[in-house]
Symmetry: C2
Subunit: 210 residues, 2 copies
């Protein structure tokens, strides 16, 4: 076992420390956030910080770091109170990763990275057509984390759009079947292989594979 | 493509809606939170909501749902301002899952689920000996999400303890090598296979595998 204390990783180079700390939470989801401003100018940015906040109401959280992700996402969210979240699959991984480049504000990452805008029903935010699990989110609240200036975004899930055959009648979604990937740290991507499902845990009953 | 609107999933049974909404963010990390009260009584609970909040300072967030995870974790955190986070690996998956059973307050999940407490240096919170990547966290702030009564916990990383050979000199941590797993929805667990690393994205330069 190797021990690395805070005074040790505080002395890492900035890049090494970012790689290190980003690796610690474990495997992370990879999603593209689609937004547009009131004039319809679109934006797309990749995030790995989506987290489940609750099912009733259906809440999703994510983090926007003003120093790394273009502020366009945050500005558009403030203007329209809407965004889309789109799972990244292996087929679009390179293009999705490329949305993290610092494009000028007047460039849409959809065009620059060759991903296709998709509009569903009356939702005034662009989905990624190539994504196989995607949903629209309404802004509930944003909250500044004073320690580092990041913005915690709390949203409500309004509609879900997913590949036929990924949805089970009991509510489960087969995200591996949709080709969804995960990331560790900043840049190392993974596919997933199912181990199995474990039964609902009760005291004095051993968990079993179902 | 199948569309499920909010009025549709609001009409699901509670259990189905929980399964559905929990599946949407994508693959999630699986961690055990170790705490103890001021008398040294230990507690262990499994979470899938850890998220990276920043590298400088090194911040980690997670969510505690008072209706599902024993309140012991939150009470201990309030008392001691300390917890540990321990990656779950395939070897301890069944025991880790079992910590989600509703044990009475006087039962430690360490004992009930046959996981081993480990104390490192002077840190007054129990690690899971069987975990290969673990770290100690100091409470920065807790915040109530008024929409559903969940608690957003913001912590600072104080020390990291990991298997020799998982740490790269450039800061990266090979979490797949440590056997860390991921989860989709409530109960479906996965191992991960590396696709590769992508280079830092710059406008007008195609991403390449490194």
């Amino acid at each position: 076992m190797k021990t690395i204390k805070d005074k040790d990783f505080l002395s890492f180079s900035d890049r090494d420390r970012v790689r290190f700390i980003n690796s610690l939470s474990g495997f992370k989801s990879v999603n593209l956030i689609g937004t547009q401003n009131l004039e319809g100018k679109t934006n797309l940015s990749i995030i790995s910080s989506a987290f489940h906040l609750g099912a009733s109401p259906a809440l999703m959280g994510f983090v926007i770091r003003p120093d790394s992700v273009p502020r366009d996402t945050l500005n558009n969210l403030r203007e329209t109170k809407l965004c889309t979240m789109n799972h990244v699959n292996e087929e679009i991984l390179e293009r999705a990763h490329q949305t993290s480049a610092r494009y000028p504000e007047d460039i849409s990452e959809f065009e620059a990275c060759q991903l296709t805008t998709q509009y569903i029903d009356e939702i005034q935010a662009p989905f990624v057509e190539e994504s196989k699990i995607k949903f629209s989110l309404e802004l509930v609240r944003e909250q500044l984390i004073p320690e580092n200036g990041t913005h915690l975004i709390i949203t409500k899930i309004k509609s879900v759009h997913l590949l036929d055959g990924c949805f089970h009648e009991d509510g489960r979604v087969d995200i591996a079947k949709a080709g969804s990937i995960s990331v560790a740290g900043l840049d190392t991507y993974y596919t997933s292989k199912e181990i199995g499902r474990l039964s609902y845990a009760k005291p004095d009953v051993d968990p079993r594979w179902i």
